[in-house]
Protein backbone atom coordinates (compact mmCIF):
# COMPACT_ATOMS: atom_id res chain seq x y z
CA UNK A 1 0.00 0.00 0.00
CA UNK A 2 1.08 3.50 -0.67
CA UNK A 3 2.30 5.45 2.34
CA UNK A 4 0.42 8.64 2.96
CA UNK A 5 2.35 11.85 3.06
CA UNK A 6 2.09 13.97 6.18
CA UNK A 7 2.44 17.68 5.64
CA UNK A 8 4.93 19.59 7.72
CA UNK A 9 3.22 21.86 10.17
CA UNK A 10 3.89 25.44 9.36
CA UNK A 11 5.49 26.82 12.53
CA UNK A 12 6.32 30.27 11.30
CA UNK A 13 3.25 31.76 13.00
CA UNK A 14 4.26 30.25 16.33
CA UNK A 15 6.50 33.19 17.06
CA UNK A 16 3.64 35.61 16.51
CA UNK A 17 1.35 33.62 18.74
CA UNK A 18 3.90 33.55 21.53
CA UNK A 19 4.53 37.24 21.13
CA UNK A 20 0.83 37.89 21.50
CA UNK A 21 0.77 35.77 24.63
CA UNK A 22 3.82 37.55 26.00
CA UNK A 23 2.34 40.98 25.39
CA UNK A 24 -0.96 39.88 26.89
CA UNK A 25 0.70 38.72 30.10
CA UNK A 26 2.95 41.74 30.23
CA UNK A 27 -0.04 44.03 30.08
CA UNK A 28 -2.25 42.14 32.49
CA UNK A 29 0.16 41.24 35.26
CA UNK A 30 0.72 44.04 37.68
CA UNK A 31 4.21 44.03 38.93
CA UNK A 32 4.41 44.30 42.66
CA UNK A 33 5.34 47.91 43.19
CA UNK A 34 5.22 49.46 46.57
CA UNK A 35 3.06 52.50 46.90
CA UNK A 36 2.46 54.54 49.96
CA UNK A 37 2.62 57.80 51.81
CA UNK A 38 6.08 59.18 52.34
CA UNK A 39 6.84 60.94 55.61
CA UNK A 40 9.85 62.26 57.43
CA UNK A 41 9.80 61.84 61.17
CA UNK A 42 10.97 64.69 63.39
CA UNK A 43 14.42 64.24 64.95
CA UNK A 44 14.48 62.59 68.36
CA UNK A 45 14.29 64.82 71.38
CA UNK A 46 16.42 64.66 74.45
CA UNK A 47 14.06 64.01 77.37
CA UNK A 48 15.95 66.58 79.47
CA UNK A 49 15.50 69.30 76.91
CA UNK A 50 11.96 68.41 76.02
CA UNK A 51 10.42 71.24 77.99
CA UNK A 52 12.73 73.88 76.57
CA UNK A 53 12.14 72.99 72.95
CA UNK A 54 8.38 73.32 73.09
CA UNK A 55 7.59 75.91 70.50
CA UNK A 56 4.90 78.47 70.96
CA UNK A 57 2.47 78.39 68.09
CA UNK A 58 -0.21 81.00 67.77
CA UNK A 59 -3.60 79.31 67.96
CA UNK A 60 -4.72 80.78 64.66
CA UNK A 61 -1.76 79.09 62.95
CA UNK A 62 -2.56 75.70 64.39
CA UNK A 63 -4.98 73.12 63.09
CA UNK A 64 -5.26 70.49 65.73
CA UNK A 65 -6.61 67.15 64.63
CA UNK A 66 -7.35 64.54 67.24
CA UNK A 67 -8.30 60.99 66.38
CA UNK A 68 -9.70 59.01 69.28
CA UNK A 69 -9.77 55.29 69.90
CA UNK A 70 -13.15 54.98 68.16
CA UNK A 71 -11.60 56.50 65.03
CA UNK A 72 -13.66 59.68 65.51
CA UNK A 73 -12.16 62.99 64.48
CA UNK A 74 -12.03 66.31 66.24
CA UNK A 75 -10.61 69.34 64.45
CA UNK A 76 -9.95 72.42 66.57
CA UNK A 77 -12.57 71.32 69.08
CA UNK A 78 -15.17 70.46 66.49
CA UNK A 79 -16.29 66.93 65.72
CA UNK A 80 -15.87 66.23 62.05
CA UNK A 81 -16.23 63.48 59.50
CA UNK A 82 -13.16 62.43 57.47
CA UNK A 83 -14.96 63.38 54.26
CA UNK A 84 -15.03 67.04 55.28
CA UNK A 85 -11.44 67.16 56.44
CA UNK A 86 -9.93 67.89 53.03
CA UNK A 87 -12.01 71.01 52.43
CA UNK A 88 -11.33 72.25 55.91
CA UNK A 89 -7.60 71.66 55.55
CA UNK A 90 -7.51 73.42 52.18
CA UNK A 91 -9.23 76.45 53.61
CA UNK A 92 -6.84 76.42 56.54
CA UNK A 93 -3.67 76.11 54.45
CA UNK A 94 -4.55 78.69 51.83
CA UNK A 95 -6.65 81.12 53.89
CA UNK A 96 -8.01 82.68 50.71
CA UNK A 97 -10.24 85.27 52.39
CA UNK A 98 -7.53 86.39 54.83
CA UNK A 99 -9.75 85.36 57.72
CA UNK A 100 -8.32 86.51 61.09
CA UNK A 101 -9.12 83.07 62.59
CA UNK A 102 -7.04 81.29 59.97
CA UNK A 103 -3.22 81.35 59.65
CA UNK A 104 -1.53 84.71 59.24
CA UNK A 105 0.02 85.53 55.91
CA UNK A 106 3.50 86.71 55.16
CA UNK A 107 5.06 88.12 52.02
CA UNK A 108 7.67 85.73 50.71
CA UNK A 109 9.80 85.89 47.59
CA UNK A 110 9.36 82.80 45.47
CA UNK A 111 10.72 82.32 41.95
CA UNK A 112 8.00 82.39 39.23
CA UNK A 113 5.46 83.78 41.69
CA UNK A 114 7.05 87.11 42.62
CA UNK A 115 6.25 87.96 46.22
CA UNK A 116 2.89 86.46 47.13
CA UNK A 117 1.34 86.44 50.60
CA UNK A 118 1.31 82.93 51.93
CA UNK A 119 0.64 81.22 55.25
CA UNK A 120 4.21 80.36 56.18
CA UNK A 121 3.53 79.67 59.82
CA UNK A 122 0.65 77.25 59.56
CA UNK A 123 1.03 73.89 61.26
CA UNK A 124 -1.29 70.92 61.07
CA UNK A 125 -0.88 68.91 64.20
CA UNK A 126 -2.09 65.35 64.12
CA UNK A 127 -2.55 63.53 67.35
CA UNK A 128 -3.83 60.02 67.62
CA UNK A 129 -4.66 57.72 70.42
CA UNK A 130 -2.99 54.38 71.02
CA UNK A 131 -6.30 52.74 70.26
CA UNK A 132 -6.83 54.44 66.90
CA UNK A 133 -6.90 51.96 64.05
CA UNK A 134 -4.20 52.21 61.44
CA UNK A 135 -6.73 52.52 58.64
CA UNK A 136 -8.28 55.60 60.26
CA UNK A 137 -4.88 57.14 60.78
CA UNK A 138 -3.89 56.58 57.16
CA UNK A 139 -7.25 57.95 56.01
CA UNK A 140 -6.59 61.19 57.89
CA UNK A 141 -3.03 61.43 56.59
CA UNK A 142 -4.33 60.76 53.12
CA UNK A 143 -6.91 63.54 53.28
CA UNK A 144 -4.28 66.00 54.44
CA UNK A 145 -1.92 65.05 51.62
CA UNK A 146 -4.86 65.30 49.23
CA UNK A 147 -5.55 68.83 50.45
CA UNK A 148 -1.97 69.87 49.76
CA UNK A 149 -1.93 68.14 46.39
CA UNK A 150 -5.12 69.84 45.28
CA UNK A 151 -3.89 73.26 46.35
CA UNK A 152 -0.62 72.69 44.54
CA UNK A 153 -2.45 71.59 41.42
CA UNK A 154 -4.68 74.65 41.56
CA UNK A 155 -1.83 77.11 41.93
CA UNK A 156 0.20 75.39 39.21
CA UNK A 157 -2.72 75.52 36.81
CA UNK A 158 -3.15 79.21 37.54
CA UNK A 159 0.51 80.12 37.28
CA UNK A 160 1.76 77.79 34.57
CA UNK A 161 -1.12 77.93 32.09
CA UNK A 162 -3.17 74.91 32.94
CA UNK A 163 -0.38 72.48 33.71
CA UNK A 164 -0.76 70.32 36.78
CA UNK A 165 1.86 70.01 39.49
CA UNK A 166 3.08 66.66 38.17
CA UNK A 167 3.68 68.15 34.71
CA UNK A 168 5.91 70.97 35.92
CA UNK A 169 9.68 71.07 35.68
CA UNK A 170 11.72 70.48 38.80
CA UNK A 171 12.36 74.19 39.47
CA UNK A 172 8.70 74.99 39.03
CA UNK A 173 7.75 72.19 41.38
CA UNK A 174 10.15 73.52 43.98
CA UNK A 175 8.56 76.94 43.69
CA UNK A 176 5.10 75.46 44.16
CA UNK A 177 6.36 73.49 47.13
CA UNK A 178 7.55 76.73 48.66
CA UNK A 179 4.17 78.28 48.01
CA UNK A 180 2.40 75.47 49.84
CA UNK A 181 4.95 73.81 52.13
CA UNK A 182 3.83 70.52 53.66
CA UNK A 183 3.59 71.09 57.36
CA UNK A 184 2.10 68.13 59.13
CA UNK A 185 3.40 67.59 62.60
CA UNK A 186 2.85 64.32 64.34
CA UNK A 187 2.59 65.19 67.96
CA UNK A 188 4.19 63.18 70.71
CA UNK A 189 2.00 60.20 71.45
CA UNK A 190 -0.47 60.41 74.26
CA UNK A 191 -2.28 57.62 75.93
CA UNK A 192 -5.87 58.53 76.68
CA UNK A 193 -7.78 55.46 75.54
CA UNK A 194 -6.06 52.76 77.51
CA UNK A 195 -6.16 54.88 80.66
CA UNK A 196 -9.89 55.10 80.32
CA UNK A 197 -10.01 51.33 79.92
CA UNK A 198 -7.82 50.98 82.99
CA UNK A 199 -10.18 53.22 84.91
CA UNK A 200 -13.14 51.12 83.92
CA UNK A 201 -11.49 48.01 85.30
Amino acid sequence: MKKREIQEINASSMADISFLLLIFFLVTTSMATDKGLFRTLPPPIDPKEQKKTEIEVNTRNLMKILVNSNDKLMVNGEVMDVSRLKEKAKEFIANPANNPDLPEKETVNIPFFGSPKITTKHVISLQNDRGTSYQAYIAVQNELVAAYNELRDEISAKQFDGRKYAQLTEEEQDAVKKYYPLKISEAEPKDYGSKAVGGAQ
Partner: protein
Protein backbone atom coordinates in the same frame (compact mmCIF):
# COMPACT_ATOMS: atom_id res chain seq x y z
CA UNK B 1 -5.17 17.38 -11.42
CA UNK B 2 -2.37 14.93 -11.33
CA UNK B 3 0.20 17.49 -12.19
CA UNK B 4 -0.10 19.09 -8.74
CA UNK B 5 0.90 15.91 -7.00
CA UNK B 6 4.56 15.72 -6.25
CA UNK B 7 6.43 12.63 -7.08
CA UNK B 8 9.02 12.47 -4.30
CA UNK B 9 8.80 13.37 -0.60
CA UNK B 10 6.75 10.45 0.57
CA UNK B 11 8.74 10.22 3.82
CA UNK B 12 7.43 11.52 7.13
CA UNK B 13 8.91 15.00 7.61
CA UNK B 14 10.07 16.05 11.06
CA UNK B 15 8.20 18.84 12.79
CA UNK B 16 10.41 21.87 12.85
CA UNK B 17 11.58 22.73 16.29
CA UNK B 18 13.36 25.89 15.27
CA UNK B 19 10.97 28.13 17.17
CA UNK B 20 11.14 26.14 20.36
CA UNK B 21 14.08 28.09 21.82
CA UNK B 22 12.22 31.33 21.18
CA UNK B 23 9.19 30.10 23.02
CA UNK B 24 11.23 28.97 25.96
CA UNK B 25 13.06 32.27 26.04
CA UNK B 26 9.78 34.08 26.00
CA UNK B 27 8.52 32.06 28.96
CA UNK B 28 11.75 32.69 30.76
CA UNK B 29 11.57 36.43 30.25
CA UNK B 30 7.94 36.43 31.28
CA UNK B 31 8.68 34.75 34.57
CA UNK B 32 11.77 36.84 35.10
CA UNK B 33 9.89 40.07 34.86
CA UNK B 34 6.79 39.16 36.78
CA UNK B 35 8.12 37.25 39.71
CA UNK B 36 9.16 39.32 42.65
CA UNK B 37 11.68 37.92 45.01
CA UNK B 38 10.11 37.03 48.26
CA UNK B 39 11.47 39.47 50.77
CA UNK B 40 10.59 37.52 53.87
CA UNK B 41 8.46 34.69 55.05
CA UNK B 42 5.47 36.40 56.51
CA UNK B 43 4.82 35.61 60.12
CA UNK B 44 2.08 38.18 60.46
CA UNK B 45 -1.05 38.84 58.44
CA UNK B 46 -0.87 42.20 56.72
CA UNK B 47 -3.85 43.64 54.90
CA UNK B 48 -2.68 47.06 53.80
CA UNK B 49 -4.87 50.11 54.36
CA UNK B 50 -6.27 52.00 51.40
CA UNK B 51 -5.49 55.53 50.32
CA UNK B 52 -5.58 57.67 47.20
CA UNK B 53 -2.63 60.05 47.34
CA UNK B 54 0.12 57.51 46.94
CA UNK B 55 3.61 57.91 45.62
CA UNK B 56 5.72 55.10 44.23
CA UNK B 57 8.70 53.83 46.10
CA UNK B 58 11.33 54.50 43.46
CA UNK B 59 14.44 52.80 44.76
CA UNK B 60 13.67 49.49 46.28
CA UNK B 61 17.26 48.90 47.31
CA UNK B 62 16.99 51.76 49.79
CA UNK B 63 13.90 50.33 51.44
CA UNK B 64 13.99 48.23 54.57
CA UNK B 65 10.81 46.59 55.68
CA UNK B 66 9.02 46.31 58.98
CA UNK B 67 5.81 44.34 59.21
CA UNK B 68 3.19 44.82 61.89
CA UNK B 69 0.08 42.74 62.29
CA UNK B 70 -1.42 39.89 64.22
CA UNK B 71 0.48 36.58 63.87
CA UNK B 72 -0.68 34.10 61.27
CA UNK B 73 -3.26 31.56 62.32
CA UNK B 74 -0.88 28.66 62.73
CA UNK B 75 1.44 30.77 64.87
CA UNK B 76 -1.25 32.11 67.15
CA UNK B 77 -1.02 29.17 69.54
CA UNK B 78 2.48 30.19 70.49
CA UNK B 79 2.32 33.91 69.99
CA UNK B 80 -1.25 34.90 70.72
CA UNK B 81 -3.35 37.07 68.43
CA UNK B 82 -2.11 40.42 69.69
CA UNK B 83 -0.38 42.51 67.00
CA UNK B 84 3.35 41.90 66.73
CA UNK B 85 6.29 43.45 64.94
CA UNK B 86 8.12 41.28 62.45
CA UNK B 87 11.75 42.02 61.66
CA UNK B 88 13.22 39.89 58.87
CA UNK B 89 12.22 36.34 59.76
CA UNK B 90 11.44 36.74 63.43
CA UNK B 91 9.21 38.62 65.81
CA UNK B 92 10.63 41.54 67.71
CA UNK B 93 11.09 40.26 71.23
CA UNK B 94 11.65 43.31 73.34
CA UNK B 95 11.23 47.06 73.14
CA UNK B 96 14.64 48.06 71.74
CA UNK B 97 14.74 45.44 68.99
CA UNK B 98 13.44 47.65 66.19
CA UNK B 99 16.13 50.29 66.67
CA UNK B 100 18.89 47.69 66.84
CA UNK B 101 17.59 45.91 63.77
CA UNK B 102 17.37 49.09 61.71
CA UNK B 103 20.83 50.22 62.81
CA UNK B 104 22.19 46.84 61.72
CA UNK B 105 20.45 47.09 58.37
CA UNK B 106 21.83 50.56 57.84
CA UNK B 107 25.37 49.46 58.62
CA UNK B 108 25.05 46.74 56.01
CA UNK B 109 24.22 49.29 53.31
CA UNK B 110 26.85 51.06 51.21
CA UNK B 111 27.97 54.19 52.95
CA UNK B 112 26.68 56.51 50.23
CA UNK B 113 23.17 55.13 50.61
CA UNK B 114 22.96 55.07 54.38
CA UNK B 115 21.57 58.58 54.72
CA UNK B 116 18.79 57.94 52.23
CA UNK B 117 17.54 54.71 53.78
CA UNK B 118 13.78 54.45 53.80
CA UNK B 119 11.89 52.31 56.26
CA UNK B 120 8.78 50.92 54.67
CA UNK B 121 6.10 50.15 57.22
CA UNK B 122 3.74 47.43 56.13
CA UNK B 123 1.06 47.56 58.73
CA UNK B 124 -2.24 45.73 58.87
CA UNK B 125 -5.14 48.13 58.64
CA UNK B 126 -6.83 46.87 61.80
CA UNK B 127 -3.75 47.31 63.94
CA UNK B 128 -4.05 49.79 66.76
CA UNK B 129 -1.84 52.84 66.49
CA UNK B 130 -0.16 52.19 69.84
CA UNK B 131 2.30 49.63 68.52
CA UNK B 132 2.87 51.68 65.35
CA UNK B 133 3.64 54.76 67.43
CA UNK B 134 6.11 52.78 69.50
CA UNK B 135 7.89 51.63 66.36
CA UNK B 136 7.91 55.19 65.02
CA UNK B 137 9.43 56.49 68.23
CA UNK B 138 12.15 53.86 68.03
CA UNK B 139 12.87 54.77 64.42
CA UNK B 140 13.20 58.39 65.46
CA UNK B 141 15.68 57.44 68.14
CA UNK B 142 17.64 55.38 65.60
CA UNK B 143 17.66 58.39 63.24
CA UNK B 144 15.79 56.41 60.61
CA UNK B 145 13.52 59.32 59.90
CA UNK B 146 12.43 58.59 56.36
CA UNK B 147 9.44 56.35 56.57
CA UNK B 148 6.91 55.08 54.16
CA UNK B 149 3.39 54.04 55.05
CA UNK B 150 2.76 51.37 52.46
CA UNK B 151 -0.83 51.32 51.29
CA UNK B 152 -3.00 50.08 48.45
CA UNK B 153 -4.56 52.30 45.86
CA UNK B 154 -8.21 53.13 46.39
CA UNK B 155 -10.04 54.16 43.26
CA UNK B 156 -12.63 56.48 44.73
CA UNK B 157 -12.05 59.29 47.15
CA UNK B 158 -14.56 60.39 49.71
Amino acid sequence: MAKFRKEGGKKLPAISTASLPDIIFMLLFFFMTTTTMKENTMLVDVKLPEATELTKLEQKSLAKYIYIGSPKRELQKLNGSEARVQLDDAFAKKAGDVGVHIAKKRDAMPEADQASMIVSLKVDKDTKMGIVTDVKQELRKAYARKIYYTANERSNSY
